[in-house]
């Protein structure tokens, strides 16, 4: 890790406690949230900060996630710095508000602790909740570790509020695996976070600029609706640059450099695994072991899923001969999981196209150990050697037949 002048403290904390701490350090004006496993400990801990008076936040107790997001939208339109958090069915209940938050260009930051969607009802990790919201016009960041969940929360706010972005951001980490495990990581000083995120002064708001009145959420008929949707596309496409600018600024502060994605031992790799979330750690562990046996395997860990870095991914993956994309959510009736189908599409017009196979894994918290990563790598090696043709059908890893 690069040395920086910034003083940081090494802590033993759960991912959720780290996220609550980041919220405390940001000190948002308004938080409206409803508890749901495995997100609960974030809002619980943050409520303690409010009760202890260490933040100035107006904490709105609401009766559902639908109301939570509605309150966040109202507060953000008024001009407040707003944060919330949810999981699974909570995110699903916010559904009709999610697209409004992005269309109104409201920089709400939501920590989404990934949990499987019902049914059957389940409390454990997969990515079906946030992947279900992938087309809602939010920026999506994924974290592998508690460190990344903490760091992404701080960066998410700065990205969301940037004058050229003004979009809501979901910051994901894996339910229980990251949210409830005690991990070792570095946290910044309160003052450094405060300085990094700066003051929030929105260009357009209901309360700050009474002399320049604006309307949020007017009716838009066919003559105007389409243009607003175009603006949303332009904004989120353009946010990629700001995501990286904020990420680089954060690296200068913390010494921790992230990207749109991380390439791990990919330079001379024949085969690559694409993965996001905590399984990237298990993949890294497995890749080290397989590399020691001479298997030329690498990993691409996706951090920014929206905006989707298609060109960068095509370039990075064009170097290898076969790619296995591991999705922790299924898109039943589709070609495969959402990350797989999008990466496959991103490579279609590319000059160098590796063979591709899609894998779904870990639904509802099914444990994903090194054996499953090895299975994917061994499959890909067979394709590279010409022993097998690339599979058209998605492979469901670790499912009981």
């Amino acid at each position: 890790m690069a040395k920086t002048a910034t003083k940081q403290k090494t802590v033993a904390m759960t991912g959720n406690a780290g996220c609550a701490l980041a919220m405390k350090q940001i000190n948002p004006d308004v938080v409206a949230a409803y508890p749901i496993t495995p997100q609960t400990t974030i809002v619980e801990e943050f409520a303690n900060y409010v009760a202890d008076g260490v933040v100035d936040t107006e904490y709105i107790n609401v009766e559902s996630e639908h109301s939570a997001m509605s309150a966040c939208i109202g507060a953000s339109a008024a001009g407040a710095r707003v944060m919330t958090s949810t999981s699974s069915q909570g995110l699903a209940l916010m559904w009709e508000e999610l697209s409004i938050a992005s269309a109104l260009r409201l920089p709400i930051v939501m920590q989404t602790v990934n949990r499987a969607l019902s049914g059957p009802i389940n409390i454990h990790c997969d990515h079906s909740d946030s992947m279900g919201a992938r087309d809602m016009g939010w920026i999506h960041l994924f974290a592998e570790t508690a460190q990344e969940a903490y760091d992404n929360t701080i960066m998410a706010l700065k990205i969301a509020e940037h004058k050229d972005v003004r979009l809501p951001v979901m910051s994901m980490h894996d339910g229980f695996i990251t949210s409830h495990a005690i991990d070792r990581f570095e946290v910044l000083d309160d003052a450094d976070v405060k300085k990094f995120v700066g003051d929030y002064m929105p260009k357009y708001s209901l309360l700050y600029n009474p002399n320049e009145p604006v309307t949020f959420g007017p009716f838009a008929m066919p003559a105007f609706y389409y243009e607003q949707r175009k603006q949303l596309r332009v904004a989120i496409d353009g946010s990629k640059e700001i995501v990286m600018k904020v990420t680089d600024d954060f690296a200068k502060l913390s010494g921790r450099q992230y990207g749109l994605f991380e390439e791990y031992r990919l330079d001379d790799a024949d085969v690559a695994i694409v993965v996001l979330g905590s399984t990237a750690g298990t993949a890294r562990y497995t890749i080290d072991a397989m590399r020691a046996q001479g298997v030329k395997v690498g990993m691409l860990k996706l951090r920014v899923f929206r905006p989707f870095p298609a060109a960068e991914l095509a370039e990075a993956l064009g170097k290898v001969k076969a790619v296995g994309v591991m999705d922790r959510s299924d898109s039943a009736g589709s070609l495969g999981g959402p990350v797989y189908t999008e990466i496959k599409a991103a490579l279609y017009n590319s000059k160098q196209r590796p063979a591709m196979q899609g894998y779904v894994y870990g639904l509802g918290g099914r444990d994903t150990g090194p054996d499953q990563i090895e299975t994917v790598v061994n499959d890909l090696v067979k394709v590279v050697k010409g022993e097998e043709s690339p599979r058209e059908a998605v492979t469901l890893l670790g499912v009981k037949e």
């Binding site: 802590v11 033993a12 005690i182 991990d183 750690g281 562990y285 444990d367």
Partner: protein, 192 residues
């Protein structure tokens, strides 16, 4: 470069016996030693008295693997009645260490479980907790037994950390009770 050692521990207990707290305390103690760790309980529909598991990984280097621990080197059993209810040695290393809170001798446990290989440690942590802390919660004395059985750190480091960590929340009487519990278990644990 010395080989990096990753120690994997599985805790068996019943809900309410403090296994999660013990796993957390061990992680924090490891941090005070400059080590890396992960501590995570297995979440399910658990309630007071139901069998639960918790896991700890400790290493001198950053830990990347995130899956659950299938092949622990060390297994700690906080409640002897679990020996009949749960396969506590499932997936355990052949040369692993089993530490049980019980009044029985290690030899009796080995015979009752029909266990070959492995080193078995026993200590009556419930009685020690009752006599030192005044409550039958075996988690802190079991930490003393764990440190003795594995040599993962000097006893003084653990007792220093217990004082520092408990100092924020508890009375002097409770803190010193816990320190005595750790020290007694360290001294009284038997091995075979």
């Amino acid at each position: 470069m010395a080989e990096v050692k990753l120690t994997e521990i599985r805790w068996h207990a019943r809900g309410g016996q403090g296994a999660v707290t013990a796993a957390k305390l061990l992680a924090e103690t490891a941090l005070s030693q400059g080590q890396y760790f992960q501590a995570f309980p297995e979440y399910g529909p658990e309630r007071m008295g139901a069998p639960i598991q918790a896991f700890t990984r400790i290493s001198s280097e950053p830990i990347h693997i995130r899956s659950s621990i299938a092949n622990p080197e060390i297994v700690v059993v906080l409640d002897p009645t679990l020996l009949k209810a749960v396969d506590v040695t499932s997936g355990m290393h052949e040369d692993g260490v089993l530490i049980v809170n019980t009044d029985d001798e290690p030899k009796a446990i080995r015979k009752a479980m029909g266990l070959k290989g492995r080193t078995i440690f026993t200590v009556n942590a419930t009685r020690i907790a009752q006599e030192t802390i005044g409550r039958p919660i075996p988690n802190t004395p079991m930490m003393g037994a764990l440190v003795k059985a594995t040599g993962m750190m000097p006893l003084g480091n653990l007792t220093d950390y217990v004082r520092k960590s408990f100092g924020k929340k508890f009375s002097e009487e409770i803190i010193e009770g816990n320190v005595r519990a750790v020290e007694r278990a360290y001294a009284e644990v038997k091995a075979e």
